[in-house]
């Protein structure tokens, strides 16, 4: 069912970390790659050791890698399945709240859409503190 993304549809890159499914805007992903020793690492949450993939995204100062366990691929969803994050969730999550761009309903399962741009800000501040 591969069709062009029409205006009523969106594309989302699906990936998995520690058994949890996430999504991100494909336009924010520079590439999918293997772990790279050079790029700074930013985590949504710790990936399992056998995860070999990273999402490479761009910051103002360069690229960073987001370790994931698995990249499922790009999927299309009707825009009607997009939702804003619940207000309470945003309210209570504090600084990290902004990293949640929204939620897509994959059937009855809500999948968080992560804001790589916002996440990339962490890379700038913490990349030097963390080292692997």
């Amino acid at each position: 069912m591969i069709e062009a993304a029409s205006a009523s549809e969106c594309s989302l890159l699906f990936f998995e970390i520690a058994g949890q499914t996430f999504a991100a805007d494909p336009l924010e992903v520079v590439r999918v790659d293997r772990r790279d020793t050079d790029l700074p690492i930013v985590e949504i949450m710790p990936a399992t050791p056998k995860g070999t993939r990273v999402l490479v995204a761009k910051t103002a100062s360069g690229e960073f890698q987001l370790p994931v366990d698995r990249v499922m691929g790009v999927r299309r969803f009707p825009n009607s399945s997009l939702r804003r994050p619940p207000a309470l969730a945003l309210a209570v999550s504090g600084a990290r709240a902004n990293e949640l761009m929204g939620v897509v309903l994959d059937g009855q399962t809500p999948v968080p859409i992560m804001d790589l741009k916002t996440i990339s800000a962490r890379a700038k501040s913490r990349a030097k503190a963390r080292g692997r």
């Binding site: 591969i2 069709e3 062009a4 993304a5 594309s11 890159l13 494909p26 336009l27 992903v29 590439r31 999918v32 790659d33 293997r34 070999t52 993939r53 990249v71 691929g73 790009v74």
Partner: protein, 412 residues
């Protein structure tokens, strides 16, 4: 009354006449004619009876009566002489001789020449008797002592013979036992020899079996080495496969990445990226298939590795086992050789024992036979001894009787 040895003729005659006379006397009872009576008395005197007297001293014929009286007077006178004393004494002594056997106390003599001659004659007779008795006594003594010696000797001989017979009998019995025992030994030696033979046979076949076993072990070992070699080759090949699979995996992974990024690009391009996205999706599927396959291959490789490890371990265990087996085999072979030599010795020994006991049995039989003969001879000897003893006993007895008899006569 009359204890001297009577003369046969006289006694016969006397007896007959006496009977006649007595018959005549009794027929006439008190009417005996004095003459007849006188004749009777004279007859009796003639016969020696000096005590006869005429009883019928009454009668018609005074001359006969006188005759009778005269006869009586003459008879009385005849024996009232001095020699009557001598005769009385002599007859006393003779009676004593007869009664007591005393031959030593004859000292009667008489003034009467005839009597004197008679007495001397009697004395000489008695002297002769004395000598006779003495000699008989001596002879009897000698005989008795000889008889006793013979008896003693033959009794001794008899005892010895009996003892000898008993000893021989015991020896014979012992020999019999020995015969039995040696027969038993021979039998045992025989069965030992049989068992030794059997053991020998078994040990020989055991040795063969061990040899075959050792050969088999060696075969297994060389086979095992071949197996180990094959396993090692297999392992190497598997490793090569593993390496190849890793390369494929790498390629597939890269393809997957490529496809993902292509999909990203496709989504970015929007409408234009439609075809691109299709290709990307297909590539992804391809890459996923390859990854699936390589995953399976990797699993297989793991399994093969496990199997080869197990096989190698088994081969190693087998090798150790065969080594052990060979060691045991050589130990067993040594043991069997030991048994063989031991059994051979036993077998030889048993045979020697068998032979020896055979010889012994023959010898024993011979001894028993000889003993038997000796026993027979001894029995005969014993028999003879017994007879001799018996005879000697009789002889001794007779000698004793003789001595006893002679004792009645005192010669000194």
């Amino acid at each position: 009354m009359d204890k001297t040895v009577p003369q046969n003729g006289k006694s016969k005659r006397g007896g007959k006449r006496k009977a006649e006379v007595e018959a005549t006397t009794t027929a006439k009872s008190s009417n005996v004619h004095p003459l007849a009576d006188a004749l009777m008395v004279l007859e009796r005197v003639a016969q020696g009876d000096l005590s006869a007297r005429v009883q019928a001293l009454s009668g018609d014929d005074p001359a006969v009566v006188q005759l009778g009286e005269l006869i009586n007077r003459a008879l009385s006178r005849a024996i009232t002489s001095v020699s009557r004393d001598g005769i009385e004494k002599a007859s006393e002594l003779l009676v004593k001789v007869a009664d007591e056997g005393d031959l030593t106390s004859w000292n009667v003599t008489s003034e009467d020449a005839q009597l004197r001659g008679l007495f001397d004659g009697v004395g000489r007779v008695l002297e002769t008797q004395r000598t006779f008795v003495r000699e008989i006594n001596e002879a009897a003594l000698r005989l008795s002592s000889s008889a006793n010696e013979v008896l003693a000797a033959s009794t001794q001989h008899e005892t010895s013979s009996t003892e000898q017979a008993a000893a021989i009998h015991e020896t014979t019995a012992t020999m019999e036992e020995l015969k039995h025992a040696s027969a038993q030994i021979a039998e045992n030696a025989g069965s030992v020899a049989r068992v030794a033979e059997e053991t020998l046979g078994a040990a020989r076949s055991g040795r063969t079996a061990i040899h075959e076993f050792t050969t088999a072990m060696q075969q297994i070992r060389s086979d095992g080495l071949a197996v180990v070699d094959s396993i090692s080759k297999l392992s190497k090949r598997v490793e090569r496969i593993g390496t190849v699979v890793e390369v494929i995996d790498e390629i597939a992974d890269r393809s997957d990445l490529l496809a993902l990024n292509a999909a990203l690009e496709g989504s970015r391009a929007g409408e234009a990226g439609k075809g691109f996205s299709i290709v990307a999706a297909e590539m992804r599927r391809l890459a996923e298939n390859v990854l699936e396959s390589t995953k399976e291959i990797k699993n297989l490789i793991s399994e093969i590795r496990e199997s080869t490890h197990a096989a190698a371990a088994a081969a190693e265990a087998s090798r150790r086992a065969t080594e052990q087996g060979e060691k045991l085999g050589s130990v067993a072979a040594q043991s069997v050789d030991g048994i063989l030599s031991g059994v051979q010795e036993t077998s030889d020994a048993a045979r020697v024992i068998n032979l020896a006991t055979q010889q012994q049995r023959t010898a024993t039989e011979q001894v028993v036979a000889s003993m038997s003969e000796i026993e027979d001879v001894t029995r005969q000897t014993t028999q003879a001894s017994r007879q001799a003893t018996s005879a000697a006993a009789d002889l001794a007895q007779l000698a004793n009787r003789l001595a006893e008899l002679i004792k009645r006569f005192r010669a000194d």
